[in-house]
């Protein structure tokens, strides 16, 4: 018999009895520490460099490459960056680098180039690598891919709460609107589609610039974009998104002096964990390894 799910209300948050990433967007803060489940923690790496954005607002490709290398090395615990990448990608792989082309805040070209460079150095031929977003379902490399690298910026999203790693695979369906119900809660089901299932070797949330609050027709307002100058790297897309949602909340608090709830609760992160078992959303089960410049890191 199917277990009836509990209705979560504001009062659960006031009591402190709900403590997943679900809490991060409510404007209610995180509850007191309670016992963490016994499972192992999931590792994600936060790396920042205060010089990655230059005075003209341009991203320094060399610094970004170095950040990516350090982050991946730390994640897979391999000192040499190339050896670290070889733990993720084989020369025989066909590699799709899933980017994000949203015009106001796309995946930085410098990040795409840095990823591609290392994949090439691993030994994957150029013809077996592609960077794409909206054309992935018509892209031969993506359709025949054996490995995916998921890289996109972190931002708030009107209907999904946040745009993060989980949501970035929406382009792997030709009917994205079918995933808009209940604040996009079924998004993680896309990760079970044959075109992507089990292929993702690495997830990267670009925090070089983050959009922590949205407004207007396109839900973009320059006032709410922060030069955070970081990357969040991990294998678990749910964990990255949970940390990302928390960061955006802390950025709102820092900016406004109080939390402002997101338009939509990013409960697709919670659902990705609880229903689709895609990863871990409980913040207390996520270990954040911090590297580099940490002034104003908030998390």
């Amino acid at each position: 018999m199917r277990k009836k799910s509990k209705v979560i209300t504001r009062r659960d948050f006031l009591r402190g009895t709900v403590y997943t990433a679900f809490a991060t967007s409510m404007g209610l803060g995180l509850p007191n520490e309670k016992e963490v489940r016994a499972e192992e923690k999931v590792k994600v790496v936060l790396i920042r460099d205060e010089n990655v954005i230059g005075q003209q607002g341009r991203i320094d490709p060399d610094i970004l490459q170095n950040m990516l290398d350090q982050g991946v090395s730390s994640l897979v615990e391999e000192e040499n960056p190339l050896q670290a990448w070889k733990k993720l990608i084989k020369p025989t792989d066909i590699v799709g680098i899933k980017s994000n082309a949203w015009n106001p805040l796309p995946t930085p070209k410098e990040l795409e180039a840095a990823i591609e460079k290392r994949v090439l150095e691993v030994g994957v031929p150029k013809k077996n690598i592609s960077i794409d977003d909206r054309g992935v379902l018509d892209n031969k490399v993506f359709l025949s891919s054996t490995a995916l690298i998921n890289a996109r910026p972190l931002r708030t999203h009107h209907w999904a709460g946040i745009g993060g790693c989980i949501k970035n695979y929406i382009m792997f369906t030709s009917t994205p609107w079918l995933y808009h119900s209940d604040a996009c809660s079924p998004l993680a089901s896309i990760w079970n589609k044959p075109v992507v299932k089990g292929k993702t070797r690495l997830n990267i949330l670009s925090l070089i610039r983050t959009q922590f609050y949205g407004r207007g027709a396109h839900f973009f307002d320059r006032r709410y974009v922060s030069d955070y100058k970081g990357l969040l790297i991990g294998k678990d897309p749910v964990a990255l998104d949970a940390i990302g949602a928390r960061l955006l909340q802390l950025q709102r608090v820092a900016h406004f002096g109080e939390d402002r709830p997101l338009d939509t609760t990013p409960n697709h992160i919670f659902v990705a964990d609880e229903k689709y078992k895609l990863g871990v959303s409980d913040l207390r089960r996520i270990e954040v390894v911090k590297l580099g410049w940490m002034e104003g890191a908030l998390i």
């Binding site: 209705v7 979560i8 209300t9 504001r10 009062r11 948050f13 006031l14 009591r15 679900f22 409510m26 404007g27 209610l28 949203w102 999203h157 009107h158 209907w159 999904a160 994205p176 609107w177 808009h180 604040a183 996009c184 949205g214 407004r215 207007g216 027709a217 396109h218 839900f219 307002d221 320059r222 006032r223 709410y224 709830p261 997101l262 338009d263 939509t264 609760t265 409960n267």
Partner: protein, 291 residues
């Protein structure tokens, strides 16, 4: 196809109507002549998931026009036919937060974006890039468009039933769906108040130095039966430990809920039960007087 369907003709008629609202020239800005229009089904192509905000109201048609001027960034105008002035106000109220721009029947300006409602229309005016003098240009553009909208509209009648004392006017939100309520006051991840396209709701804040912020929610259902069922659903989920529709919540404040005819009224975060009850009774009095 040899003949145009009624809905297609209607849509073309609305397009022409909206084109007429948008001046070809405002000051030194000239239309680039490449208008775009989107309906409820195609608007995702223009604004991705943000389209859901407009679709959750009775949004009919979006017209986008770009204005050019030498030496200045282009200005984008997005005009939404919201189907009714109530819903035009509703989508405006969704994120009204910045300074009043003095345009149309209500506006706010901030971050290089001017948001306006007038009649059944809501519109955004913004520049593609920031520029020092752009605010004045955006306001002039907004005023020119507002002037060409001849028919004014009215705000949702439900707003008149809110008690006036202590009311923060700018906090009033008008909406239909639980998703919107949660944006302004998270209640539950489930639709425990049974909100939907057929329900009209206003949420407002009341504030005083001694009481802090109190929220008042007024919902109009189609029938009294639906209002009563919604109250039962709400009480069951939100205050299962109370049978009276009143509870002191974990933050030490009070939630009070009542049904009056086809209306459900709930006060949240009142410092005293009596204060929450008084807000509800004042609302009921207004509803009675309006009859």
């Amino acid at each position: 196809m040899g003949t145009m369907s009624a809905s297609s003709a209607d849509k073309d008629g609305k397009k022409m109507e909206m084109k007429r609202l948008l001046p070809l020239k405002v000051g030194s800005y000239q239309s680039d002549g490449k208008d775009e229009s989107y309906d409820r089904n195609t608007t995702f192509r223009y604004m991705d998931g943000a389209a859901e905000l407009y679709r959750s109201y009775a949004f009919k048609l979006l017209m986008v026009r770009r204005y050019l001027k030498a030496g200045q960034p282009p200005i984008i105008v997005e005009v939404f036919d919201m189907g009714s002035s109530e819903d035009a106000f509703g989508v405006f109220s969704y994120e009204a937060q910045d300074e009043e721009g003095g345009v149309g029947q209500g506006s706010d300006y901030g971050g290089g974006l001017l948001r306006v409602w007038k009649g059944k229309y809501f519109f955004n005016v913004y520049a593609e890039q920031e520029a020092p003098s752009i605010k004045q240009d955006l306001l002039e553009m907004g005023k020119a468009i507002a002037k060409s909208i001849k028919i004014e509209g009215h705000k949702p009648k439900l707003m008149n039933d809110l008690p006036k004392e202590g009311l923060i006017e700018r906090s009033i939100r008008y909406f239909h769906l639980s998703h919107h309520l949660n944006h302004h006051y998270f209640l539950s991840h489930e639709n425990i108040l049974r909100l939907g396209a057929q329900t009209n709701a206003v949420l407002a804040s009341y504030s005083s130095p001694t009481e802090g912020k109190i929220f008042l929610l007024l919902i109009q259902y189609s029938t009294q039966k639906l209002a009563k069922e919604a109250l039962q659903s709400f009480v069951k989920a939100y205050m299962p430990d109370s049978s009276s529709g009143v509870i002191k919540t974990e933050n030490g404040r009070w939630a009070v809920s009542r049904v009056h005819q086809k209306y459900l009224i709930v006060s949240f975060d009142a410092p005293l039960q009596e204060r929450g009850e008084a807000l509800i009774q004042a609302t009921i009095k207004n509803l009675e007087e309006r009859k």
